[in-house]
Symmetry: C2
Subunit: 337 residues, 2 copies
């Protein structure tokens, strides 16, 4: 198993990326290919063992200022573009990058390409929940969607939840503003019909419409959405969690009395923060691409890169892309490409 790493992607690259990669090499028994400026990677590796570590030199870096839709095409010698090209050429089993989400998505789509028959790739992070977490798909790759895209997201999320999250018969819901079938707009109504048919055929465990207020408390494993609403839900989750932890920190450091009390429960509170921390959860899978691509959070530290590599490994071992290929006929409602 070889994981190809965009060593220059993210706010803390290449230091954090190399750190996480070394940890993954040691603990996950994977081969690592670090793509980026060789001298910088060498510097970060320092006197660490080079066992199972390969460096591939790439002289350019995709930045947040680059236009996402053209970055990989215009910077062919960037660490991101080279990593994706290697994946395409079978020189590794998965790519992990903490670089620009848009550039990675476009690059993966154009270079690695979608599974044949998949209309759009989707961003699918796993959010915390009272049960095993919820895969929210799509979270921003496609601001405007058709019912067919959402049908495909439902299948892909379902395969992922089963193969990688280890959930038998994953429950799939539609993100909506109420649970009744009539709620939402045309996109939700049409998707409801498609998923009901898939349920009746025994292919998707469709549980109906899901509200964002209840999804964290269980009853659903995969929540399908257009990328606009999904992104709003994802970013609201981040914002509210950050807001509340800031308030709680304020309480815990308000005065000496509070500080002393806080010292007792601090570790447990940190445990909650960890549950919702993107650095702990791992990366976001780009589903629908013909090989595993994981987007790590832009602010990833070494631990987050490690978590993303662990996820990439599980993804590559899972066989879920094969699930898509084998079921693609059920995932289409038209023959247009």
């Amino acid at each position: 198993m070889k994981i190809i790493i965009d060593a220059m992607g993210g706010d803390n690259a290449p230091e954090a990326v190399v750190e996480g990669s070394l940890k993954a090499r040691d603990e996950l028994n994977v081969d690592i290919t670090l793509v980026g400026k060789a001298e910088e990677i060498e510097r970060c590796l320092g006197d660490a063992s080079r066992d199972k570590i390969e460096i591939v030199d790439a002289r350019e870096v995709v930045t947040m200022e680059d236009d996402p839709s053209t970055a990989c095409r215009r910077k062919k010698d960037s660490s991101m573009a080279v990593a994706l090209k290697m994946l395409k050429d079978g020189k590794g089993d998965a790519v992990v990058s903490a670089g620009s989400t848009g550039a990675l998505l476009t690059g993966a789509t154009l270079t690695v390409k979608r599974v044949k028959g998949i209309r759009r790739a989707a961003m699918a992070p796993v959010l915390p929940s009272m049960e095993n977490g919820i895969m929210l798909i799509d979270c921003g790759a496609n601001a405007e969607c058709t019912p067919e895209y959402l049908l495909q997201f439902a299948y892909m999320g379902s395969f992922y939840a089963k193969r990688i999250m280890g959930i038998d018969n994953p429950r799939v819901g539609i993100l909506n503003i109420g649970t009744e079938e009539c709620k939402g707009g045309e996109l939700q109504h049409e998707t409801y019909k498609l998923l009901t048919a898939a349920k009746e055929a025994g292919r998707i465990n469709f549980v109906g419409n899901i509200e964002a207020s209840t999804m964290f408390f269980g009853g659903v494993d995969v929540v399908v959405s257009d990328g606009f609403s999904g992104n709003i839900a994802l970013k609201t989750t981040e914002g509210v969690a950050k807001f509340l932890f800031k308030e709680i920190k304020g309480v815990m450091t308000k005065n000496l009395k509070n500080k002393l009390a806080a010292a007792v429960i601090k570790d447990d509170v940190k445990g909650i923060a960890k549950k919702v921390d993107p650095n702990e959860v791992g990366g976001t899978a780009m589903l629908g691409i013909s090989a595993p691509v994981i987007k790590a959070h832009g602010s990833s530290n070494g631990k987050a890169i490690f978590a993303a590599i662990r996820q990439a490994k599980s993804f590559a071992e899972s066989g879920m892309i094969n699930d898509i290929v084998e079921n693609i006929e059920y995932m289409k409602i038209s023959e247009e490409v």
Copy 2:
């Protein structure tokens, strides 16, 4: 100032509604008209003074099972329908109801009617923030919107923030999945143009696109959205807050050591919970209706009803509906009704 109350609306009606109404009568110096089953209202009033309290008998109740789009028309003698009719007829200054949101919205639109020129009424709650709170408009009244609706929401939210929240020159943003002008779909792009023009004309303090991850930390007072995405943001906020407080409660009651520590900071933690508690914040204004209508949370207790009446009073005194009337020409981009 007379506030008309749907005494039968909400999970805890009529007890909580009467309790909150009496408190408002005593502390806010308002006249109260309680609409609903007279004998039940009498029972709840018990031996409290009837000073400034009027009871209007209505024999029916709109329930959550009624079809929202026809409830007020079919149940003409319901507490909700009678309350709205009284408002229409000038027999009071505002209506407060904790009943079905959809029924109240439809009833208000059909009976009280929209301000002339306003295309759609909007649900506009105020969310907590590090500053003065954020008005999120629309939060579910209109799943599908046009740019003109959003332009109108921007003006209405701006008037409300100025007149009722006391914010000078309120900052208005568009809820979007990134801050760049190119983000989102056609709705966001067209709205961006309309709000830029309104800014250039000196009418709206438009600050651009806003992400849900940052809106809680300041920089914006009014966030405009289609009702679908706005509802997703609202319900995600509720869900994440509930999820995290549940986790924190778990930590605080985990063992004796934690319980003792928690006792010290409990009140401060409750202070945070209060900030995000719908019972404390008050109700949701229905903007665009030609007289003030406030939807209180369905699970309102007496305190929440009191807060909603306080909000209704501020709304009725504010003159913001007059602002809409006076500026309606700037709020239209077409002449269609």
